[in-house]
């Protein structure tokens, strides 16, 4: 496991601290980890590749 440093705007950190105080999340760090996990889920290389190759087919043969 490695540590990465992320710059976070003040207003976002305040929101994260509020969520932590209210018990919705364990910590701002946990929220950042969860956000990264979700980002990686929705930005899988195979998905992006399929989307872009579909673009190419539209570009070459689309009927717009």
């Amino acid at each position: 496991m490695k540590t990465i440093a992320v710059e976070c705007p003040d207003h976002m950190l305040e929101q994260l601290e509020t969520l932590t105080r209210e018990g919705w999340i364990k910590s701002p760090e946990q929220a950042a980890f969860e956000a990264l996990r979700r980002f990686l889920d929705s930005h899988r290389p195979d998905l992006q590749r399929a989307q872009i190759l579909n673009d190419v087919q539209w570009g070459l043969h689309g009927g717009d």
Partner: protein
């Protein structure tokens, strides 16, 4: 004879920013009315201030108060889309049949899940061959410039694969 009705287009910030970085905004021509939600327009202006000058780009900036359907609302939350993407998808729901131009994988996934037609910067560049506004050689060169001249992230391996799919010059 009835004229062919152009389908309206809804844009996210990515294709506008990336095409401007590549000095190729003209590739948006022929896509009907170009509708841009205010939140997207703000993002575009933040990244490309020169586009604020009137006349650089003919767009219809649309005020959107997002009121997404239940399905879209669920996708927005699950995929953690940003304000511009939410506004664009909401606008798309109100423009049945519209084409969505977007480079964000998650926003594209949401739109495709709802049955919308979505394409991105690479498709717009390749489309220039079909429309005859760029030669194959010019499109080839533009695609090769993506990693150095634009902020669109695409693997070099995929870029090479795309270039191989182009018609021979």
């Amino acid at each position: 004879m009835a004229e062919t009705e152009e389908v309206p287009t809804v844009l996210d910030a990515g294709p506008i920013i990336h095409l401007d970085e590549l000095s190729s905004l003209d590739l948006l021509e022929g896509l009907g009315d170009l509708n841009v939600p205010e939140a997207v327009w703000e993002e575009v202006r933040r990244h490309r201030p020169r586009l604020s000058d009137p006349g650089v780009l003919k767009l219809k900036v649309v005020s959107v108060r997002p009121n997404p359907s239940a399905t879209l609302g669920t996708l927005i939350r699950a995929l953690e889309l940003d304000a511009g993407e939410i506004a664009a998808l909401d606008l798309l729901e109100k423009r049945p049949g519209a084409l969505f131009l977007c480079d964000d994988a998650a926003a594209r996934l949401a739109a495709e899940s709802l049955g919308f037609k979505v394409h991105g910067t690479v498709g717009l560049i390749v489309r220039a061959i079909r429309r005859g506004t760029r030669t194959v050689a010019q499109v080839h060169a533009l695609l090769e410039q993506i990693p150095t001249r634009s902020t669109l992230h695409i693997s070099r391996l995929l870029l090479r694969e795309i270039i191989r799919l182009l018609p021979s010059r």
